[in-house]
């Protein structure tokens, strides 16, 4: 029985799992969960993941949430190359350090910009106040500066000289604001050079395939009927206002 991966490529952690599985030729069944259509709130998906988030994995009877946990599970089960999650104590620690830090930093800040620029205006019918937008952009820039100065420094990749899970998890997050028309690589030559290396390491075709959806988000949103997105209103009010 083949591993099932429950994914929506609009979501950053889904993209990292998708890229990881494909890059490593891990056989899986792509189970689309449309966040826009609220499919993550359905009964069926609730049985796979009580947390009601994507990505999720099902391997026989075993269900698993959280992209980092999923990739580590797949890495171990399918014995992927060492560089993704090196066995060496210090190198592994550096990957763990990045994977931990990123949740409350780049992940949160990149997501926020995407929601503020694209989703909130569409769903709530209002523009986010300038002060809030400026604050969010400031936070995002602070995270990117830390990535450059603390996590990358003068290295080609975050850990050692090959791409690891850290770079994969990082790149999908920094791509998210692009879905709202905001290029965070602009004016950051070091980060741009790293992005190019990561893209080359993943392979352009796979990278583009994973990001096709999010890069077309602005167009896609133009087609969507706002009333369909009512279910997101409570989340928005809680998180952003």
């Amino acid at each position: 029985m083949v591993v099932e991966l429950y994914l929506d490529l609009f979501s950053q952690p889904c993209r990292s799992v998708f890229i990881f599985a494909k890059k490593n030729n891990i056989p899986f069944e792509f189970k689309k969960v449309s966040l826009m259509d609220g499919e993550h709130f359905g009964d069926e998906f609730g049985k796979i993941n009580k947390i009601r988030k994507v990505p999720a994995l099902r391997d026989g009877d075993f269900c698993l949430a959280e992209s980092v946990a999923i990739m580590l599970y797949l890495a171990e089960k399918f014995q992927t190359p060492d560089r993704w999650f090196p066995a060496d104590l210090r190198l592994r620690s550096r990957v763990n350090e990045y994977l931990s830090w990123q949740h409350m930093a780049i992940r949160m800040h990149g997501s926020k910009m995407f929601w503020m620029r694209l989703m909130i205006p569409k769903i709530m019918g209002i523009d986010v106040p300038k002060e809030k937008m400026d604050g969010a952009l400031e936070d995002l820039n602070a995270s990117l500066t830390l990535i450059e100065e603390n996590f990358l420094q003068d290295r080609p990749f975050i850990v050692g000289d090959q791409m690891s899970l850290a770079d994969l998890v990082a790149i999908v997050e920094i791509m998210q604001p692009l879905g709202a028309g905001l290029d965070m690589f602009e004016g950051r030559p070091k980060l741009s050079a790293w992005r190019d290396r990561v893209q080359a390491s993943i392979g352009k075709d796979l990278f583009d395939e994973a990001h096709q959806g999010i890069l077309g988000a602005q167009d896609a949103m133009k087609q969507v009927d706002p009333s369909k997105l009512e279910l997101f209103k409570p989340k928005i009010l809680r998180l952003f206002f």
């Binding site: 171990e76 104590l89 210090r90 592994r92 620690s93 763990n96 931990s100 603390n150 809680r238």
Partner: protein, 242 residues
């Protein structure tokens, strides 16, 4: 040379690392960092880590941040009993799943309740508005529901029959609102029983001692008020509460 670990026990991730190192008798030098005095913003601390957070581990020239990374480093380096971080694929995945989920959920929500009560008045000059506190408590409730219904279920510990680092990381977070006079486990007998099991495994006296600084919240308020350096940092904290 001895490992150094930089800690302030008011911080939950510091307590997780402290409790693990102490319970497993891992040799290290405790380096106190006073967060309420803004010590993480000093030039000296910046040389240790530009991220300016605690805990930090320093093993020779190797400096490591992030409590979950530090815990895994200690596990691997010190060859601890398997149950702390099981080698078995699915059990390991359960630990990884919890450690990942908790950042933006239990950790974030329990800390917010604590900070609204202790830091908000300092920064904003007044008590946190009721609706803000209510919203924070509601978020915390949802995280606690998931801890109980998804992560723990009917098992004694998150992974199964034995304690792992996931339980340590979870326990210190659910204790945090106590520093704001809020008992997160009020009316939750299942989680209370689990917390007591975790305390017993680590050592009740050790856990109580680790939480002393947290429970002395009036001492905390005093320290913050008296500290001129911390006053300068107010604008930075403003953002969190806006």
């Amino acid at each position: 040379s001895t490992m150094e670990i930089y800690l302030d026990l008011v911080s939950p991730p510091c307590r997780a690392v402290y409790l693990f190192a102490e319970a497993l008798k891992i040799p290290y030098a405790f380096k106190k960092v006073e967060l309420s005095a803004g010590q993480q913003y000093t030039e000296e601390f910046g040389k240790l880590s530009v991220v300016r957070k605690v805990p930090v581990l320093k093993d020779g020239s190797f400096v490591l941040t992030e409590s979950t990374a530090i815990l895994q480093y200690l596990v691997q380096k010190c060859s601890v009993a398997d149950h702390w971080f099981p080698a078995e694929l699915q059990q390991r995945a359960r630990v990884d799943e919890y450690l990942s989920w908790q950042h933006l959920n239990l950790r974030s929500h329990c800390s917010k309740v604590f900070l609204l009560r202790t830091l908000y008045p300092f920064v904003m000059g007044s008590e946190a508005p009721k609706d803000k506190m209510d919203a924070a408590v509601e978020d915390m409730k949802q995280s606690l529901d998931l801890l109980e219904e998804k992560f723990l279920q009917d098992k004694p510990f998150i992974v199964g029959n034995k304690i792992s680092v996931a339980d340590v990381v979870a326990m210190v977070e659910i204790m945090q609102p106590l520093g704001a006079g809020v008992d997160a486990l009020d009316g939750r007998p299942k989680l209370t029983a689990w917390r007591d099991r975790v305390k017993k495994e680590l050592g009740v006296k050790l856990v109580d001692q680790a939480h002393e600084a947290l429970l002395d919240s009036s001492g905390l308020q005093q320290k913050m008020q008296n500290n001129t350096e911390l006053q300068k940092l107010k604008p930075m904290f403003l953002k969190y509460f806006r």
